[in-house]
């Protein structure tokens, strides 16, 4: 399963489709201190990434794959005063 919700961590694996966005958001809302493990994340639908960009959760593990630089930047953008 591309998205696996655990107690304190939600794991994003491989490719996450748009349907995962709802589950991700609900989990983040109900686990304010929860973290995201995206170690094996390869690709994801915009909707899923959008949830991350808006909620800006803490990441326990960043993606191994090298092409996610922009995501880290996006998580800090737009929240300046």
């Amino acid at each position: 399963m591309p998205i696996v919700a655990k107690q304190k961590v939600i794991v994003l694996d491989g490719h996450c489709e748009i349907d995962a966005a709802e589950e991700l958001e609900q989990w983040l809302v109900s686990h304010p201190k929860g973290q995201v493990n995206a170690k094996k994340l390869v690709s994801a639908h915009t909707a899923v990434l959008q949830v991350l960009i808006y909620h800006r959760p803490a990441f326990s593990v960043w993606p191994e794959a090298g092409h996610w630089q922009w995501l880290r930047q996006a998580m800090t953008n737009g929240r300046e005063a």
Binding site: G14, H15, I18, D19, S43
Partner: protein, 122 residues
């Protein structure tokens, strides 16, 4: 295995696209017209739908409208096959909910390139 659904009244088109896509690692289901496609879609869950525009009976745009009425496919990318001169039909297709189009005759690389983008996980 991601499934791609092809709809075209030309058996040749269906076969040639099927061969191409299968070799690239996708599963393929085919329908010769709109009504049978809708039938199939009642139980199938393709990750991408490619339909011809000019078909007798239900044309591509009407088919797209019908597919979009089914909540199961609200996010499913759909491509329409058109000929060069049908520019306004492309806009119609987008309005009906299509993601994009392919101009016939379709180059294999072009088809695969676009499919790869729309169906990230093969």
């Amino acid at each position: 295995m991601a499934t791609i659904h092809l709809i075209d009244d030309s058996a040749t088109m269906l076969m040639s696209m099927e061969m191409l896509l299968k070799r690239a690692g996708y599963d393929v289901i085919k329908s010769p017209d709109g009504p049978s496609a809708l039938d199939t879609l009642a139980s199938a869950s393709p990750k991408l739908i490619i339909t011809d525009l000019n078909m007798p009976g239900m044309n591509g745009i009407e088919l797209i409208k019908n597919i979009k009425q089914n909540g199961k496919f609200r996010f499913t990318p759909i491509l329409m096959l058109t000929t060069e001169s049908q520019q306004t039909r492309r806009d119609e297709a987008k309005q009906a909910g299509a993601t994009g189009w392919l101009v016939k005759p379709v180059e294999p690389e072009q088809l695969l390139g676009i499919v790869k983008q729309l169906v990230p996980a093969a």
